[in-house]
């Protein structure tokens, strides 16, 4: 039995046992007027690649940020890797965040830093004290960062300034920065929305390859249904903060794609809200 067989078996056992991510009755309110999420319940099992669909403002980013404790739920519970994110504080919360990688739409790299140092900053959670400058990171961290850069195909330019790279390359650096955490979950908030179609395909292929290599659980928000259909195992749709769709991709046939558009987009009439 190979390693990947093992992990697949492990994943299916875990699936029976307990979900990696579980939201129950989660509501998030910003101020008195803005309800970003409204009573959302959702379970994600180990190894699943979930594509989160919805227009901007539908609550996708809020949901992802709740999963990493970057926002706290107004009500309801958010459990990640068996831990309650809403009540975790300080050291405990940081330990949890270390197991969750996050990739952002705008990459969020420091442009004036080298590519390698940007990747190293992903390891801060497991280091003591602040770091400034590449050489302030232990050699083991720098080697691990190179390893991840190699995986995303950018090992030839570790000492280049990050802002000299193209958008697609920058996003791959950001993926490497998330991978150096050795996460068990990878969250991606519109990772390809700022990229051209070719780079988008590259980045999505990278995320999907890494998800299977490291048997990661992935939640990735997208606004293009075709991308979601080709990369996701399961589609989850949000609209106005409510869950309006939750279906494995295997159960969706070609004719149904239009109904997915209408489920997430408000133009349609007569769809459940």
């Amino acid at each position: 039995m190979t390693d990947s067989d093992h992990s697949r078996l492990g994943a299916s056992i875990d699936k029976i046992l307990r979900p990696t991510i579980s939201l129950s009755g989660v509501t998030k309110q910003f101020g008195p007027d803005l309800r970003a999420l409204d009573d959302v319940s959702l379970e994600v099992y180990p190894g699943e690649v979930v594509a989160l669909l919805g227009l901007s403002g539908s609550g996708k980013s809020t949901l992802l940020r709740l999963l990493d404790g970057l926002h706290l739920p107004t009500s309801g519970t958010v459990q990640v890797l068996g831990q309650d994110v809403g009540t975790a504080r300080g050291r405990e919360l940081r330990a949890l965040r270390r197991k969750v990688g996050f990739v952002f739409q705008q990459f969020h790299l420091v442009g004036s830093m080298t590519v390698l140092e940007n990747v190293c900053t992903g390891a801060l959670g497991s280091l003591r004290g602040p770091r400034f400058g590449l050489m302030s990171y232990p050699k083991s961290v720098r080697l691990a960062a190179m390893e991840q850069l190699d995986r995303v195909g950018l090992a030839d330019r570790p000492f280049q300034r990050a802002d000299t790279l193209s958008g697609g390359q920058q996003q791959r650096v950001a993926v490497a920065r998330a991978l150096i955490q050795k996460p068990r979950i990878l969250l991606a908030d519109e990772p390809v929305a700022s990229l051209d179609p070719e780079s988008s395909a590259q980045v999505m292929a990278l995320i999907s390859r890494i998800a299977s290599e490291d048997s990661l659980t992935v939640v990735c928000s997208l606004h293009q249904v075709d991308l979601a259909l080709s990369w996701g195992h399961r589609l989850v749709g949000l609209r106005g903060g409510s869950l309006v769709l939750d279906k494995p991709v295997s159960q969706i046939d070609k004719n149904e794609t239009m109904s997915i558009y209408s489920a997430v987009e408000p133009v349609s009439v007569g769809q459940p809200v």
Binding site: F102, S112, T121, R142, F159
Partner: protein, 576 residues
């Protein structure tokens, strides 16, 4: 749709309370400036008189008497050491203050207001007054100067650092937070790298300012060139005094040229597109080499070649950056800086037990300064405060009168030819290179005219800064408006007044207030070197240890400066 049945008779908007009072304020300032110019007797006759004075004085300063080179080097090292340590001290303290003051990094509202209060207070208390306090606490020498300059600098450095922190992109910090980094790790790893160019540029700029201010501190006993200079002038050894003054002017200009070049380099770092002749040559060599290797093969195997990582001899990844010219240069700067720091600390002879004693008696010493008192010369103090304000007003006014034409001619979009604009820009840079306070010392000593000389000396600084600000804000105006007015058949002058100046008016008014504000502070310091006004009384009070009067003077200046700033904020809001 309705038509106006009663068309309004007036073509002007109904004057509001706000516009009326802004006009009253601006007119009042104008009138006060004219009065200040007249009252200080700044006119042709005075200038001719002072020219006579100067001629006879020049006879007494020649031959210039420079101290022996060894002494000169020692005092220069002392001054530079004090300025370096003061700037480093202010940078370190300002980092913390700025983190608390910036809205995106502050740990809490209370701390934020506390930090902002520190910024305002340190900026308002002149370094001279801090030096008087610290000299009393820690004795004569370098320590008092370092602390005085260092703490006063927080007012500017802390403010600019907070601005730089607020300007950073929150993204990288968010990413580090998401990766489980602690607060300090987020700040140092995600915020500081972005703000670093601004941090370094501000520190270099402050170094220049502190160097100029350190000379004034010599008047109250801080060691260095300023001490020797004030000593020479006090004993009427003008040959030595003027030699030192000229030396300081040269030193300031040299230091400013160096720090300006460094600043440009640090800020240029933000734009990787900037290519020097060297990078261009390297690129040429690189492309030539590629071609020489194998153009065809390089293209097909590009994808594979791209992912090949550099490895060390033992087959591991290479994880330390190569020693490029850039890295070598940066390392040399860091080493030089560290050496200078060590040398300065050693030279400052910081006596820790003396400092501990000083801190121990802090409370007692501070109690000497409170409550503020007038020392029985209250009315005189008010009169002298008025003189200081007069100096500031007159200097700003004269500066403005010269700066308007100079600034306009230096603006590319107003000057008749690009050559003229360039010429005036060079003129502005040259004027700005004159260290105003030291220049003022020379003018005051040479003409022997006190307040009048002070105003004229300060106006030189005002000409430099105001011309630059006017030229900049005129260049920032929307050219399309000017083109539209020009297309309507207006003359050049009409375009200038109606479109260009009209657009940059609010900015220029704001600059004038800023200049007035800094001139009031500078005029206070000029009193110390003999320009009259309240600064002179400040010095005297310190000398005869009437520390309550020192506090009184500080409070009076504070009130005036705050009033001007309040007025500035109000006017700016009303006209924008």
């Amino acid at each position: 749709m309705t038509l106006l049945t009663n068309p309004p008779r007036s073509t002007l908007p109904r004057p509001t309370w706000q516009t009326v009072s802004v006009n009253v304020i601006l007119f009042g300032l104008f009138a006060a400036s004219l009065w200040a110019v007249a009252d200080l007797k700044i006119n042709v006759a005075t200038i001719i008189d002072s020219a006579d004075n100067a001629v006879s004085f020049v006879g007494r300063i020649f031959p210039l008497d420079f101290p022996p080179i060894g002494e000169l080097v020692t005092m220069t090292a002392q001054t530079l050491g004090i300025v370096l340590l003061a700037t480093v001290l202010s940078v370190i303290l300002s980092m913390f203050v700025a983190l608390a003051a910036a809205h995106n990094t502050t740990p809490g509202t209370a701390l934020r207001w506390g930090a902002r209060a520190i910024i305002v207070v340190t900026r308002t208390i002149p370094e001279l007054v801090l030096a008087i306090l610290f000299l009393r606490l820690f004795g004569l020498g370098a320590v008092a100067g370092i602390l005085a300059l260092g703490l006063h600098s927080i007012g500017m450095v802390g403010k600019l650092y907070a601005d730089a922190i607020e300007d950073t992109d929150p993204g990288p910090r968010d990413a580090l937070r998401a990766a489980g980094a602690s607060w300090w790790q987020q700040i140092v790893g995600g915020v500081f790298p972005q703000a670093m160019p601004a941090f370094v540029a501000t520190a270099l700029h402050r170094f220049d300012i502190n160097l100029r201010a350190s000379v004034i501190l010599g008047y109250v006993g801080v060691s260095g060139i300023g001490l020797e200079l004030s000593g020479a002038l006090r004993t009427m050894n003008y040959q030595r005094g003027m030699a030192l003054a000229l030396f300081v002017v040269a030193l300031c200009i040299v230091v400013e040229l160096i720090s300006g070049a460094l600043r440009k380099m640090v800020l240029g770092d933000q734009a990787p597109a900037h290519r020097t002749i060297w990078t261009r040559m390297r690129e040429k060599v690189a492309t030539a080499q590629n071609g020489w290797l194998d153009r065809g093969a390089a293209a097909t195997s590009e994808a594979r070649a791209r992912t090949a990582a550099a490895r060390t001899a033992d087959g591991n990844y290479r994880v330390s950056p190569p020693w490029t010219g850039e890295r070598i240069r940066r390392t040399i700067y860091v080493v030089l800086f560290a050496l200078a720091l060590v040398f300065a600390t050693w030279g400052a002879q910081i006596d820790l037990s003396r400092m501990a004693d000083g801190f121990g008696s802090m409370f007692n010493t501070l109690s000497l300064f409170f409550p503020p008192g007038t020392g029985g010369i209250g009315s005189e103090l008010w009169e002298q405060l008025l003189v200081t304000v007069q100096i500031a007003l007159a200097a700003t006014f004269i500066g403005l009168v010269v700066a308007v034409p100079v600034g306009l001619l230096a603006a590319r979009n107003v000057a008749p030819t690009p050559g003229i604009a360039k010429g005036f820009r060079i003129f502005i840079v040259a004027v700005r290179g004159i260290p105003d306070l030291i220049f003022a010392i020379i003018v005051i000593v040479v003409t022997g005219l006190g307040a009048t000389a002070g105003a004229i000396a300060l106006s030189v600084g005002a000409i430099g800064l105001l011309s630059k600000l006017i030229a900049d804000s005129v260049e920032e105006t929307d050219v399309r408006v000017q083109q539209a007015v020009l297309a309507g058949g207006a003359t050049r002058m009409q375009v200038l007044i109606g479109a260009t100046v009209r657009q940059s008016g609010p900015a220029i008014v704001a600059h004038i207030f800023y200049q007035l504000d800094s001139n009031i502070r500078a005029a206070t310091l000029l009193g110390v070197v003999g320009a009259g006004g309240i600064g002179f009384y400040l010095m005297n009070a310190a000398r005869v240890m009437q520390f309550d009067v020192v506090t009184m003077v500080v409070v009076m200046i504070f009130v005036v400066v705050m009033a001007v700033e309040g007025l500035a904020i109000w006017v700016r809001r009303a006209i924008s």
